[in-house]
Structures are given as structure tokens and as C-alpha cells.
């Protein structure tokens, strides 16, 4: 999956993954994909809720070695 930007939010606790995702999202264009890496276990539910607020979409997510990865398409 082609992302135009990767956000490393590993090690950050709530609410910083959401705050950083919001800032990174502001820098890309509609239909482009932001890749987010996080270790905060709450990030999975938080990002799912957050994308709804801005009309974005999580198009793919994986978990590997306790790192959660999300590909978010900007709405």
C-alpha cells in the first residue's frame, strides 16, 4: 500500500498518537495515504474513532512485534 507519509508514533501515550496523526494528516492531500506506527494499545480503537470524525478511512492495519500499523486514507 502506497503511503505518501509515515508517522512514527511508537512509544507515545494517549492522546499524543491522535494529536500527531491529526497534524500529519493536515499535511497531506485528499485520497493520499498516511501510514501510522504506534505501540499504544488504545490507538487501535482511538484511530478507528478519530477517522470517523474527519471522514477519513483506515484502509489497512497490521500488528507485528507489538507495533500497530495503520494506513489511513484522507477524506
Amino acid at each position: 500500500m502506497e503511503s505518501v507519509k509515515v508517522l512514527d508514533a511508537k512509544g507515545l501515550a494517549c492522546p499524543m498518537p491522535i494529536v500527531k496523526t491529526k497534524k500529519a494528516m493536515d499535511q497531506i492531500n485528499s485520497n493520499e495515504i498516511l501510514e501510522v506506527h504506534a505501540t499504544d494499545k488504545g490507538a487501535e480503537n482511538d484511530l478507528a474513532a478519530w477517522v470517523k470524525s474527519g471522514g477519513h478511512e483506515i484502509v489497512k492495519s497490521t500488528e507485528e512485534d507489538e507495533v500497530l500499523k495503520f494506513w489511513i486514507k484522507k477524506g
Partner: protein, 132 residues
């Protein structure tokens, strides 16, 4: 959350209180809500220049300090900055400041000072209202 409004009253001045207020406020602002916080009574500690850097843990809960470090939770200073970057409106209660003999310049930059009516005017069409 765009076009929604979150109105928060912060009336307690401990570290736990500060996290409740600023985490919810930052998450709401990051979700494109318009956010305003009214700081009153002990809640004023949360935006006091010196006090907000060293807020007390509840009695008997001092051991949580270690947990905050391990979980890599941002400091309150950092969260206040994040909130201000995302245009969260911070309103200090004039009456409490008078009672406590505090001036605006003893608070972090960028706050507004107002009374209950200022907050009510902001909160009258809020979608979410919270008190901490």
C-alpha cells in the same frame, strides 16, 4: 466532530485532574471540535505558570509518579502547549483569581479571563459539556 463544540469546566487542581481535562480537550480538538475550558477555583492551578509544572498527586497515590514515567505520558506543560496549538480556548475565572489574589500575568500566555457569563456564552450551544 467538525462543527461540534466541547465545553469543559476544570475546578480541581491535582495532576490527575489535569490529565483528565487536557487529554479530553486535546483529543476533541484533534477531532476538529471547537473546545473551551473554564478554569475555576483549584482548577486555576492547571494554567498557573509555576503550579501547572508541578501538580500534586492525590494523597497516598504518590507512587503513580513512576507509572506516568513508564507509560511515557506527556507532561502537563506539553499537553497545555498541544491544546493551545490546536486553538483550545482557555478561560480563567476572574472571580476566583480575585479571591486568590492572582493576576493574569501569573498564568500561562494566551489565556482569556472572564466570568461565569463568558463561559455560559461559549457553552450555550455546546454538544458536549464536561466537568472535572
Amino acid at each position: 466532530m467538525a462543527n461540534s463544540k466541547v465545553a469543559i469546566i476544570a475546578s480541581n487542581g491535582g495532576l490527575f485532574d489535569a490529565y483528565k481535562v487536557f487529554n479530553i480537550a486535546s483529543a476533541a480538538a484533534a477531532s476538529d471540535a471547537e473546545v473551551g475550558i473554564f478554569f475555576t477555583f483549584e482548577g486555576l492551578n492547571l494554567i498557573h505558570k509555576e503550579a501547572h509544572k508541578n501538580l500534586p498527586l492525590p494523597e497516598g497515590r504518590e507512587h503513580f509518579a513512576e507509572g506516568f514515567k513508564q507509560a511515557n505520558v506527556p507532561s502537563i506543560e506539553e499537553l497545555v502547549q498541544v491544546a493551545q496549538e490546536m486553538d483550545v480556548k482557555l478561560i480563567g475565572c476572574q472571580m476566583t483569581m480575585d479571591v486568590m489574589n492572582l493576576d493574569k500575568d501569573q498564568f500561562i500566555d494566551g489565556i482569556e479571563v472572564g466570568g461565569a457569563a463568558t463561559f455560559i456564552e461559549f457553552a450555550k450551544d455546546a454538544n458536549i459539556t464536561l466537568t472535572f
